[in-house]
Amino acid sequence: MFLTRHLGPGGWWFLLAIAAVAVAVPYCNLVLPPAHPFHANSYIVSLLGKYLTYALLALAVDLIWGFCGILSLGHGAFFALGGYAMGMYLMRQIGDRGVYANPLLPDFMVFLNWTELPWYWWGFSSFPYAMLMVLLVPGALAFVFGWFAFRSRVTGVYLSIITQAVTYALLLAFFRNDMGFGGNNGLTDFKDILGYPLQAGSTRAALFAASAIALALGFLIARAVTGSKLGKVLVAIRDAESRTRFLGYRVEHYKLFVFTLSAMMAGVAGALYVPQVGIINPGEFSPANSIEIVIWVAVGGRGTLVGAVVGAGLVNYGKTVFTTAMPELWLFALGALFIAVTLFLPRGVLGALGDYVEWMRRQKPDPLAHIEAQRQARREEAESTEHFLALAAQARAEREAAPAE
């Protein structure tokens, strides 16, 4: 199958691990009695579910940064847009159960004395439509942004700064009440999703499982992309962009494809995040959020996909622990972590782990093995030169044998 053809044993193990988590956490929450030592309360389920959506977001960033060298410092914007699309659906689900009991308008619109639903809210009472928007809105923004940025060959730091500016502009825009997205407070007080109450344990467990499935799907898609020839072109662009162009590849088309795909993945992550945390507000657009995603990926090891997931889990676990114990120190710890990873683990946790395994393997057999390897390499190089000279002699002989013109 197309999605699994580049998966490899490591990929299958990783999927198996996600599947195990998807089953185990709801089991520990719903089946095991509260007194059981392995019982997971609903706070834990929501927290881990949130981590899963962050992992999917990190995967999206790794896809563009790790494999194509596009450092987006505004990917939180796509996450937030997906979240808002889901939030709008959840708002419409409230119906007349709001504080003002208005059957037509969400509470915040009643409060602003609006009399009718703005056109961009139309259709959001339909779940399939809302899900379509979860993909299309971030995808369309990424496509339009990428179309201009990549065609104009904006790269490197300049591109990063522009992505940061985009998310900041959206932050300011969504803060405004007359944008029609609840302004400062955002969208909240959700009641149910597809008719199931959001507070119910079974709904939370289902959302958790959905997040795990989305992460697994995202991983499958990302692996299929990076393992294909397209993935090789992406790495080629990352390492030598102009060389790739001189081979006849339209670099801007490749970047546009992967950037749009990544934005859609981020949108799905945001859509799953919102029902689990119960709120979406403009704060999700804040530039600091987007920078944090990049740190997750750097910590885990960029260009590895699995590393992005590991990094998102590790850093967010650290954040949860830190912000309950010493909240004022968290940002310092995050900064220190980023510096430490850049200095000591440039390839992240996963890269360092791979290096260690490689080192252990080399340590075992023969202390002189690397010398022998060097010798072998030198011998091969000499052989290839000899091969060349033989080729040269042959070509010369052929030419001399040919009748003179």
Binding site: F2, L230, K232, D239, R245, E380, T385, F388, L389, A392
Partner: protein, 256 residues
């Protein structure tokens, strides 16, 4: 044996035709009304002192730099000024850079696979499967450039000379009609240089090749028509012996 000199002619019977091409950077004229004609199947060496405009000429042909004035035609009828790098590469002009530029994190085999002629769009590559013929072609190229044993190792670990050959192999994989080769012998040992000139001559049997080079021994070895560039235009053209005898060429090379 010297190759037959191209008939003086117009764009229609040439593979590459430059007429009055001028490029200025901040008032400095890198190319000054440069005119050049390469016949189909020709092997041509371009020499000239530093700053003569050799690399700028390559940039103009491959679409990296747009000329201020002048005409550039490929195969007589295709106006290269109207195309960008990727389009020009797809038209059949391959370029080898002075500094070997290979994809260091990819294996030697993947480098060749990426260069291999074929569809270049994102969706074509996403669903691409390597055909048996393509795999054979890669093996054949690995044999030609003498890197069969290193096929599965990252290109970043190759020696300088091996990278040069890999890049030549990538150029061949593109199946271009015209090859532009920038200083292929730079940094090579004498044995490698000799091998490289034989390789280029073998390639020139069924391709048009333009070689930019500093190394006179190498140019002599190529045994082909030579164009001398100076200050962005053609100073002299002919066999190496003819151009070496030109007083103006001697003056430029030895200083006045």
């Amino acid at each position: 044996m010297t190759r037959p000199a191209p008939r003086p002619g117009n764009a229609s019977d040439s593979i590459l035709y430059l007429d009055g091409v001028t490029v200025s950077f901040d008032g400095f004229r890198a190319l000054n009304a440069l005119s050049l004609l390469i016949a189909p199947g020709e092997l041509r060496a371009i020499i000239g002192p530093n700053g003569a405009g050799k690399t700028t000429m390559m940039d103009v042909i491959t679409g990296k730099t747009k000329p201020d004035t002048g005409e550039i035609f490929f195969e007589g009828a295709i106006d290269l000024k109207a195309h960008d790098e990727a389009a020009i590469a797809q038209l059949g002009i391959g370029r080898k850079f002075q500094k070997p530029t290979v994809f260091e994190n990819h294996t030697v085999r993947d480098n060749l696979e990426l260069a291999l002629a074929g569809k270049r769009g994102p969706f074509a590559t996403l669903f691409h499967r390597l055909s048996a013929e393509d795999a054979d072609r890669i093996d054949q190229l690995l044999g030609i450039i003498g890197l069969a044993k290193s096929a599965e190792s990252p290109a970043g670990g190759l020696s300088h000379g091996q990278k040069q050959w890999l890049e030549i192999g990538m150029l061949l994989a593109q199946e271009p009609k015209l090859l532009l080769v920038d200083e292929p012998a730079a940094g090579m040992t004498d044995a490698e240089t000799a091998a490289t000139s034989e390789l280029l001559k073998a390639i020139a049997r069924d391709h048009s090749v333009v070689v930019v080079e500093h190394d006179m021994a190498f140019v002599r070895d190529l045994d082909c028509r030579v164009t001398v560039l100076h200050e962005g235009s053609v100073l002299a053209e002919g066999t190496l012996d003819q151009v070496s005898a030109e007083p103006r060429v001697v003056e430029v090379y030895l200083g006045r």
